[in-house]
Amino acid sequence: MSSNVRFTDFKSDAQPTWCPGCGDFGTMNGMMKALAETGNSPDETFVVAGIGCSGKIGTYMRSYALHGVHGRALPVGAGVKLANPDIEVMVAGGDGDGYSIGAGHFVHAVRRNIDMTYVVMDNRIYGLTKGQASPTSREDFETSTTPEGPQQPPVNPLALAFAASGTFIAQSFSTDAQRHAEIVKEAVEHDGFGFVNVFSPCVTFNDVDTYDYFRDSIVDLAETDHDPTDYEDARSRILDPGTEYQGILYREEDSVPYEESHGVDADMTDIPDGAPEDATDLVREFY
């Protein structure tokens, strides 16, 4: 681990094609800062992204990375981490990637509690396909495919994670750079699955969940008496869909990551150039 890594070391030379003003710029900056400040280097970091505007992040960051198929970034991250626990794994996605097509993986990644970080750029819209409703869109949010609005309540991602026994559940706002980076940093440092839902406004297609809306409505938990290690306190806030919280909603203090509970600590990439020394034992079992 190199000690003098700067957050710009995590920035690639590719020019982002996100719309000017997109929330994803701030989300990414915070991720890079969090990685640098936790002492990680690009050589030892693996970023996984799915499909959508968020999926481009692997291109704009500099690290080992895979830009995968839609909705399946979390299992890829799990595979990387278990094969080589020395690698820092950060998975990024959008609300469509994580809570729609990938919702099944999200729930199971949370309960598996592998030591990795999941950052979701939640803009409550499908931006790359030019503005359709996402699973976090408001019930009356009119789009090209939902002219009357989706007419179904949005998914509450924090509650999903809570129900799946999440050990670190947080929310941030991409434009509040310092708080966002702090929260992601805590997620990286958490022993287990660190989940951060980031309000990352889409300036082109979402005229409801805007920067102004979030600025006006956000309640920062740091300014309340919220105790993230208090399960009941966390529950009442997570199940309160009327408030847009920023901060760490829940953190399990004695979280045991999957690697520890399952004894996965070896670097699997290092293998001999023949069968393992005592492999003949495997044959003997069949006598």
Binding site: S12, D13, A14, P42, D43, E44, T45, F46, V48, G58, T59, R62, S63, Y64, A65, L66, H67, G68, V69, G71, R72, L74, P75, V76, G77, A78, G79, V80, K81, L82, A83, N84, D86, I87, G104, H105, V107, H108, H262, G263, V264, A266, M268, T269, I271, P272, D273, G274, A275, P276, A279, T280, L282, V283, R284, F286, Y287
Partner: protein, 587 residues
């Protein structure tokens, strides 16, 4: 060839048929006899019936035949289902005290032995051991020393404590003694023992063992018949070698986890069956275009959709060869025997890494669930060689960077193979993507680079064809006018069918093909033959289509898609009939 002996136990699901059959097979193996087992033969009447069949001989056996010498029948239906296979002097062991067996009908000429299985088991310590009593009775009939059965019982129940083992041994002894004391038929069976030491395993286990031997350290899967045994084998074993098995939430996740582990630099695999292959096809293109080495094992069962989950079929060939949108190369290997399941798994991992390509390793249900004996030398761990291909380290990574020091994971090379840097390698940082990309892995839609990358990926196949001996396995008479071609598990039955055909004066050359893609060029062999017959367990002849395409010819197809594997005698009969028709036409 010394006479073989065919034994079966049948009853209802839940009667402990499989474990009883396995104990008897193990006993025979421990007595130095060769064994071939089968549990996939279909009901002629209706579902719910289950049976386990063992064929044994002092020489190697690798198929089943339509004959039964000793049958342990727990139900009347077991007898009805097997009527065709019983012959004069066959023995049926049953428990006349069981209410459903009180009025059992023993066919003419067949010897019925009424043995109080439950009663004797209770005397030995519990009714649950009634099948073991039956095994003891079978030992008496076949003149098979009980000590071998005791040894198998020790292996099966050893971890449950010595009392359980001893009770079972007593149960077996009671069954044997009962037959010897109450019946004095001349059965005429003599199961000779030898000093050979054999191992007994099925195809799923051979694949699992091959995976560990071949350096696989990460497995992610979702349980599905008949591939679950691969996962069960690895669980508890791969950990001893620093590996891990994850049960994923679905097959979509399983293949993506395996992909992640492979990107990290581990030898990684997943195993599934048809319905899982459908799901994994989503990610398959990403694996291939990101040039990630991955072994995807498909233990085929009868399709489409849920199909017949516990029945034999080789119906997924086209799905593996062509599955997924767009065009991208993949390798498809199809081991032809249980031992080959081991060897081809090791080879699949080497091919995957040398050519940075996904490899489908496909066994069919018959291969997966059948147990067969082999000399242990067949699984020679010292002969396993691991070749990881073009992996760079911190010293060599510089050779593959551009002028700005950026690593080129998709460098255009003469042999089509690019360098590979594992995460953690300083100077090897790169992204890979399902988007078309340039040498650095960055998205591109530039026409020249698109063509270069497609050509590069295709060139890997040409390179592999030059470097690898993708050959067919040859049997029979090389100069015969009749050529039979097959793939997968049909090899065992076909090699035996050659002997039956030989007895009728019919010479056959047989090529058994374990490499589906890239595959050996059979054109010359086909041109040399008068008649070409392609044997496979599917309805449409997917492999025959490939052969016709390769050799620009027409072949005769022998297909089977009733859910049951080919038997040797059945194959000999069908091939004989085709040749007889040809002769008629010629005349």
């Amino acid at each position: 060839m010394p006479a073989d002996f065919n034994w079966a136990i049948g009853g209802e699901a839940g009667d402990g048929i499989d474990s009883t059959g396995k104990i008897f097979a193990q006993a025979l193996s421990r007595a130095g006899r060769h064994v071939f087992t089968s549990k996939d033969f279909a009901s002629r009447i209706r579902g719910g019936y289950t049976a386990y069949k063992v064929r044994t001989s002092v020489s190697q056996v690798q198929s089943v035949v339509d004959r039964l010498d000793v049958l342990i029948a727990l139900t009347q239906r077991t007898i009805d289902e097997n009527l065709d296979e019983l012959h004069e002097g066959s023995v049926i062991i049953y428990d006349g005290d069981r209410t459903t067996m009180a009025d059992v009908e023993i066919p003419d000429e067949v010897i019925g032995l009424d043995v109080p299985l439950k009663g004797l088991a209770e005397e030995a310590g519990g009714a649950i051991m009634r099948n073991v009593v039956a095994l003891g009775a079978a030992c008496a009939v076949s003149d098979f020393p009980l000590e071998n059965l005791d040894s198998a019982l020790e292996k099966r129940f050893g971890d449950k404590g010595s009392a359980i083992v001893e009770n079972n041994m007593t149960a077996a002894q009671k069954g044997r003694d009962y037959v010897l004391e109450n019946y004095d038929h001349e059965y005429g069976y003599d199961l000779e023992c030898t000093d050979e030491n054999y191992v007994l395993l099925n195809g799923d286990e051979a694949i699992g063992m091959g995976a560990i031997a071949g350096g696989c350290r990460f497995y992610a899967g979702y349980p599905i018949t008949p591939a679950t045994n691969v996962m069960e084998y690895l669980t508890g074993r791969i950990e001893r070698y620093g590996g891990h098995v994850v049960q994923a939430e679905d097959e979509l996740s399983a293949i993506n986890m395996a992909l992640g582990a492979a990107r990290a630099g581990a030898r990684s695999m997943t195993a599934t069956s048809g319905p899982g292959i459908d799901l994994m096809t989503e990610t398959f293109g990403l694996v291939a275009t990101s040039e990630t080495p991955l072994v995807i094992c498909n233990v085929m069962r009868s399709g489409p959709s849920t199909g017949m989950p516990t029945k034999q079929e080789q119906g997924d060939l086209n799905a593996m060869l062509y599955g997924g949108h767009g065009e991208v190369p993949r390798f498809v290997l199809a081991p032809t025997t249980i031992a080959e399941c081991f060897h081809k798994t090791v080879e699949a991992f080497n091919l995957a890494e040398k050519y940075q390509i996904p490899v489908y390793l496909t066994a069919d249900l018959s291969l997966a669930v059948t147990e067969q004996t082999y000399p242990p030398e067949e699984f020679d761990m010292d002969a396993v060689e691991i070749e990881r291909g073009k992996v760079v380290d911190e010293e060599t990574v510089g050779e593959w960077q551009d002028e700005e020091g950026r690593f080129k994971p998709h460098a255009i090379t003469e042999d089509g193979i690019s360098p590979r840097a594992f995460p953690g390698t300083e100077g090897g940082v790169h992204m890979s993507t399902g988007l078309e990309h340039d040498e650095l892995g960055r998205r591109t839609e530039e026409t020249g680079m698109r063509v270069d990358q497609v050509d590069k990926r295709t060139r890997k196949v040409e390179t592999a064809k030059e470097r690898e001996p993708f050959e067919a396995r040859e049997f029979g008479d090389p100069d015969a006018e009749t050529l039979v071609v097959s793939w997968g598990s049909n090899e065992g039955a076909m090699t035996e069918a050659i002997e039956y055909l030989d007895e009728e004066g019919i010479d056959v050359r047989f090529l058994s093909v374990p490499y589906i893609f890239p595959r050996p060029d059979l054109t010359e062999a086909i041109e040399d033959a008068e008649t070409v017959i392609v044997v496979e367990c599917n309805a449409t002849g997917q492999f025959a289509d490939l052969i016709e395409h390769d050799a620009l010819t027409r072949v005769t197809r022998v297909n089977k898609y009733d859910g049951v594997r080919f038997n040797a005698d059945e194959l000999a009969e069908r091939i004989g009939a085709i040749l007889a028709d040809d002769t008629e036409v010629a005349a």
